[in-house]
């Protein structure tokens, strides 16, 4: 699991993930992802288009960071989920509680909503 952090104007953090969000993937990502999406205190959009697989440990990490961002008062928006990953979100009811956009531009729009 790879992570790339890009700073956009705002400043806004764009985090791109690439790989499998299984238990080892979530573990590898853990602190860097939390730092980029929560600790820095910036609104963040997360590009999931490179994530080919997700399971409960990956979901836990996303939920935990979404909660952390909420507590810190900034937005955390996911976008670009592949169809099977989106399906998992829907099966787990996450589409109702996480901010999930269809595209990068829509994710950016949600930051200013």
């Amino acid at each position: 699991m790879q992570m790339e952090l890009i700073e956009l104007d705002g400043p806004v953090n764009l985090v791109r993930l690439d790989g499998r969000l299984d238990a080892p993937g979530a573990d590898t990502l853990g602190m860097r992802f939390t730092a980029a999406t929560v600790a820095q205190g910036r609104p963040v959009i997360v590009d999931l288009s490179g994530v080919s697989f997700i399971a409960s440990m990956g979901i836990r990490l996303l939920i935990s960071c979404a909660k952390g961002a909420h507590l810190k008062g900034h937005k955390f928006v996911l976008f670009g989920a592949q169809p099977f990953v989106q399906d998992v979100f829907e099966q787990a009811g996450l589409d109702q509680i996480l901010d999930i956009a269809a595209s990068e531009s829509e994710a950016l729009e949600r930051l200013s909503a």
Binding site: D22, A23, P24, F53, A55, S56, M57, I59, R60, I63, S64, A66, K67, H70, F84, V88, Q91, A92, G93, L94, Q96, I97, L98
Partner: protein
């Protein structure tokens, strides 16, 4: 196809690759591959992390203590059947409290998601405790 693996984290990836290789001959749909990977990940992770906790080695120590997991995969025209066997603490996923789908972010709790996802992606899940072993049978529709 039958496998016997040490109950440790490394076995999860080994099992995944072995099952996918076996499955390839049946030309599985991408959806089936995803469902099988998810079920393997969640079920094996649960066994590795939780089944041997009471032995005092802590979470995930089953492999070191020599515990092994049996995995059998059978494919017929309609279904794929995954059978898991382990000698860890009794755990019937049907009796595990099902997490309610959270209405708000604040309500989202970390536990139970794996069991729920297995149920949703499987056609059926059956559990038996026989001779000190957990036997879990997960049937996945091929179509």
């Amino acid at each position: 196809m039958q496998l016997r693996l040490p109950a440790d984290g490394a076995s999860i990836e080994r099992a995944r690759l072995a099952v996918l290789e076996h499955l390839a001959a049946y030309e599985p749909s991408p959806r089936l591959v995803f469902a099988v990977e998810l079920i393997l990940e969640e079920t094996l992770t649960n066994i590795v992390r939780h089944a041997y906790r009471s032995e005092g080695g802590g979470e995930g120590s089953g492999g070191e203590a020599g515990h092994q997991i049996d995995l059998q995969v059978d494919v017929d025209a309609a279904d794929l059947v995954l059978r898991f066997g382990d000698d860890g603490a009794a755990f019937d996923p049907a009796r595990a409290p099902a997490p309610q789908r959270p209405a708000t972010l604040a309500e989202a709790v970390p536990g139970g998601l794996g069991v729920m996802l297995v149920r949703r992606y499987a056609r059926s899940v059956a559990y038996e405790r026989v001779g000190g072993r957990n036997h879990l049978t997960v049937t996945v529709a091929r179509a």
